[in-house]
């Protein structure tokens, strides 16, 4: 254990995803030794994202304003809605240029181990969005792993009475992985070959 504030910093850093106790310690001592101007720039960048970047009130994607760029874009097809787990999945799908509809970001996937159920995701917001009948196809693009599949199945069952076309990305994505790690070509093909989900 280190003295007061140093240990506080290590603890805070250790909370970040992908940073273990050893890594936290390394970053902390790097910051201690760094040029104060560099550290101030880092602090400013962190403060700024927290102040300026919000989550889009429509889709849940990151946005600089109330609504994100995609939700504001009148050229996007409002009848097709693609459901993803995280904002980074929006970025991955946008890279493929295959999709011209809009998104809905859930903020994760159902995972009882981590205590995440439907109420912890933006599921209610999704149902509200679908209520007016404008959307006719719902694409479930959750990750191709167990939790992603479970979330997709859950949503498919939930919206079934609404009579929408519900599709899931074609197989061919690396199973057990994250959507964001699929290369553009594979992800693009998975989009093109999406299949009807039957629950």
């Amino acid at each position: 254990m280190y003295e007061g504030v140093v240990q506080d910093l290590i603890d805070e850093l250790g909370r970040l995803p992908g940073v273990g106790p050893k890594g936290a310690q390394r970053i902390a001592f790097h910051l201690l030794a760094a040029d104060p101007a560099d550290v101030r720039r880092l602090v400013a960048a962190i403060t700024e994202v927290k102040e300026r970047v919000h989550f889009c009130r429509v889709c849940g994607n990151v946005a600089q304003d109330e609504e994100c760029r995609i939700c504001r874009d009148p050229r996007r097809d409002v009848t097709v809605l693609c459901v993803v787990e995280e904002p980074k999945d929006v970025v991955a799908i946008e890279r493929t240029r295959e999709f011209r509809g809009r998104y809905h970001v859930l903020g994760g996937a159902i995972s009882p181990i981590e205590g995440v159920g439907p109420d912890d995701l933006r599921v209610r917001e999704l149902m509200t969005r679908l209520a007016d009948g404008v959307v006719t196809e719902l694409i479930l693009a959750t990750d191709p792993n167990l939790e992603g599949e479970a979330t997709a199945t859950y949503l498919a069952r939930l919206v079934k009475p609404m009579g929408l076309t519900v599709t899931r990305l074609a197989s061919g994505l690396p199973v057990g992985g994250d959507l964001e790690y699929a290369d553009e070509v594979t992800l693009g093909r998975a989009f093109e070959g999406r299949r009807l989900i039957d629950v």
Binding site: G117, P118, A150, T153
Partner: protein, 379 residues
Amino acid sequence: MHVAHLSLTDFRSYPTLELPLDPGVTALIGPNGQGKTNLVEAVGYLATLGSHRVAHDGPLVRQGAERAVLRASVLRERRSTLIELELTPGKANRARVNRAPVPRPREILGLLRTVLFAPEDLALVKGDPAERRRYLDELLVTRTPRMAGVRADYDRVLKQRTALLRSAGAAMRGGGGDLRTLDVWDAHLAEVGAELLGARLDLVTALDPLVRRSYRELSRDPGPAPVAMGYRSSLGEQVELTSDRHVLAAALQAAMAQRRREELERGLCLVGPHRDDVLLRLGEFPAKGYASHGESWSLALSLRLAAFELLSTESGGDQPVLVLDDVFAELDTSRRARLADLVAKAEQVLVTAAVPEDVPEALDGARVDVCAGEVRRVR
């Protein structure tokens, strides 16, 4: 197939090791605690991504080292494959095949196939159901490497569903409770569970005649009782066990629906292949609890011999590497001789023993002395 070369870095007691190997029999000889089992454990790990002695990687890395590296060059029909595996406890292990990194270690499964006999095998007969399930599942993965993914998915569904049963059960007792997502996990457990269960049933069907034959050949005691292998599923007796995945999935789902209350109360998944057992019978009795020590040994060896037969036949005669860790010392003279005869003609046999006299004559071949983590080819 056979291992032509094994090299280790910081694995168990070995800071470094280079061991060239030939086809045929190689006896690894040395006093207790010198590192014989460590060597064959490494070979087994490269084949199964697991140790026959420990469930976690921690003890496999040499005391004080951060990671272990295992390398084997495997010759199969005159084609050589270099398999490399880096074990770092607490982190993801990494693998390379012919020097090219593979996305995950699972990709190396099937490149080296082994059947390992060890003193621990007695637990296949005398131990808990988990031992027998592990025997089946390990063989499933060796037989069809794709099953490694099914196994991993099944374990994960099980964890998720158990977590949900716990929290939903607790919430229900508090008056609330949200069972909307339980249906989804039921469906997933049924789907993946049916795949695992079906594969196990197919495997038991294929193994049963081979186990019977091996047992007959091993124990030519006056009139050995006939052995039989069967499968007991958590679905109970009323369900006819077919290996049709759709039928099995429906049966699993129905059983979960029926036992939902109990599952919620206990916070446990009570239905599925993780609750199953392999039934071994000796004459009229279940082997566990009835078989004598010698009979239990013969049966355990028969299970391994059957695995060897099955893998050899199904791959067009390409035999897995046979590893016999310290088993001869456990057997009486006649079983010893018969086992030796049965395995002597395998493409490669690695035998460990404390003294050369423990290796039956039929297994004459190369000899490597193992002493204090040093190996020396003496013959």
